[in-house]
Symmetry: C2
Subunit: 358 residues, 2 copies
């Protein structure tokens, strides 16, 4: 392993000079700067992050802002756990994380948390830009303070975020269509129920649906689909009634696509008689959804590995802060196909498993 000292000896200068070159600090003549840079490259010098963080003992505070989760809607637990894991792994690098939650129902709670974060003056922010207007103001203030920020799970365009981490929603919908096509064959009547879609005033759902449709268009198959909205409907009985009414009225429906993470609710709402004849495809491996897979109610789930999204977001930000590594603008999560047969191997992160059960 080649150290700064080694480089200094080779270049016949002091460690201080090498240090200046490495960190691009001024006070070094162009000539020696070039020379040292060359030597650094030749010897494949890589900074020892261990020693670095010890010497710096600087604390990096990272603020994370995401929707909360509860037993009714567990989706956001997964990225939370990923972030927690990253925190545990990197806390000796001086990384400190403060976690903020808001309600998807309530943009005021979002704005409130944004204000607190700005006040806090963190070194970086990871967040899911749920509400457009508030996000615009938030990012303006962050930029004013030169605080870098990163989008997770949900993407917006025209911002100076250092990167986006999440799934390509369009393509995941496209894949869902392919799987649906495989399962239903020539039957091309589908139902697309949306649960509280207004809450997620984001583009993910529509992009998935667009991808779904485009697949069939591209194959020159004309499909019929019914979109069904359940807004603010907390009463599962009502969902059930309405669902089964529609299915009764449309006996040709062969498949149900739930473009959000709420397929378990829909599945519960469809009576057995229909369910046996239907192919259900949904997104995200929440505990309830996995249950539906195992019970053969749902054929496919498409996962975006949101645990990894959480983990990776912290990793990317940390690399950015500590080593000034620029990530690529878009980091796309895998589009995983989960079935009854491989589900047990998909989320087998031991850490995740432990935490979930504790």
């Amino acid at each position: 392993m080649v150290t700064i000292k080694d480089i200094a000896k080779i270049a016949n200068v002091s460690t201080g000079t090498v240090d200046r070159v490495i960190h691009n600090r001024q006070g070094v003549s162009e000539k020696t700067k070039e020379r040292i840079n060359k030597i650094l490259k030749e010897n494949n010098f890589k900074i020892n992050v261990i020693a670095r963080s010890l010497a710096l003992r600087k604390k990096y505070s990272i603020a994370v802002l995401m929707p909360g989760f509860n037993n009714d809607n567990l989706f956001w637990k997964s990225p939370y756990l990923g972030i927690s894991k990253a925190r545990d792994e990197m806390n000796h690098l001086g990384v400190q994380i403060e976690y903020f939650q808001f309600s998807q129902l309530d943009e005021v709670s979002y704005k409130k948390q944004c204000d607190i974060i700005v006040e806090l003056n963190p070194d970086a922010v990871i967040f899911s830009p749920y509400f457009q207007k508030e996000t615009l103001e938030f990012t303006k203030r962050l930029e004013g303070k030169s605080i870098p920020y990163l989008f997770i799970n949900l993407d917006l365009h025209g911002y100076k975020n250092i990167c986006f981490i999440g799934q390509d929603a369009y393509k995941s919908g496209y894949l869902a269509a392919k799987l649906m096509h495989l399962c239903t064959g020539n039957k091309t009547d589908f139902l697309i129920p949306l649960v509280e879609s207004k809450l997620q005033n984001n583009s993910v759902l529509e992009n998935r649906i667009k991808g779904f449709k485009d697949y069939f268009d591209l194959k020159q198959l004309s499909i019929n689909y019914k979109t069904l909205y359940f807004e603010g409907l907390r009463d599962e009985n009502l969902i059930k009634l309405e669902l089964n009414a529609i299915l009764k009225k449309n006996p040709h429906i062969s498949g149900v696509l739930v473009p959000s993470s709420r397929i378990s609710i829909i599945s519960r709402g469809i009576s057995k008689a229909y369910k046996n004849k239907l192919t259900l495809i949904g997104f995200d491996t929440t505990t309830q959804n996995i249950e539906c897979l195992k019970n053969d109610e749902v054929t496919f789930l498409i996962s975006q590995k949101s645990f990894n999204q959480g983990y990776q977001s912290v990793k990317v930000i940390t690399d950015y802060l500590i080593q000034n590594i620029q990530p690529s603008k878009k980091i796309f999560s895998p589009i995983e196909i989960i079935t009854k047969e491989n589900v047990e191997f998909s989320q087998r992160n031991k850490w995740e498993y432990k935490k979930i059960n504790s």
Copy 2:
């Protein structure tokens, strides 16, 4: 953050004494030992692992033994890259890796490398136990020297390996059957070609085939399948001839399962006329296999994320050596379903991408 120095000051002793207590070294009177332990607890002292690994800077040498790879058979490149990544990430923890390769054709080359490794006296060994007899002797000698070892990709029973990292072959075959079933519907005549299966005198292939069959058994569907062996056949024209002859003779065959990573060879050997009517399912995302996916020649690939297997094996061994963390005996890799639609997101490890193209 409370340091050893702080504790020493509180206890009115030197840092050396505190150090002895922390590491349970001898040379401290019972009385002060108890006193310091109490103070440690009271102040919730936690060792700074960063400073620790910097001070220790112990070098751990890890030997890796795997089959080699070439343009004809790229499978083992992937775990190699995973290992290389882990090496780069952990080299500042003192991890040093020596990589050894052998030929799957030649047990002598295997044995030769084993000998060299034993001679080398590494701190740990990661390897794929290809040849049983030689492995038995190898592990005996390692155990004699108390060198821990780990199996990767291929599992053997009755050994004292600290763990196995790889796929559950049986279940991956089972999943392959489900996908095949989805694609072929009621047609249940299949072809299972094996390329150089003798070379891989291991249980992976047979377990996959077993899982494949069991799926249909469990669904009470009787299937017919033909197994075809291409041993040492380097001439692709011969493969082509034989394949098409069989397909001609058995017009009911609706699907082809290649339980190894060599589906691209088989696909090349099937003429267009047949291919359009067949569902091809194979394993592992080698460059050539991915090409087949993109060309619509292959419907599904099942991946075992061998890149991750390589990466993880180093991580597990490192944690074991440095922090004495015992892994679980079996670490199963995910069984990923790869299609044309999600392949671009499956291997998107930037590092991997870069290295492959360089």
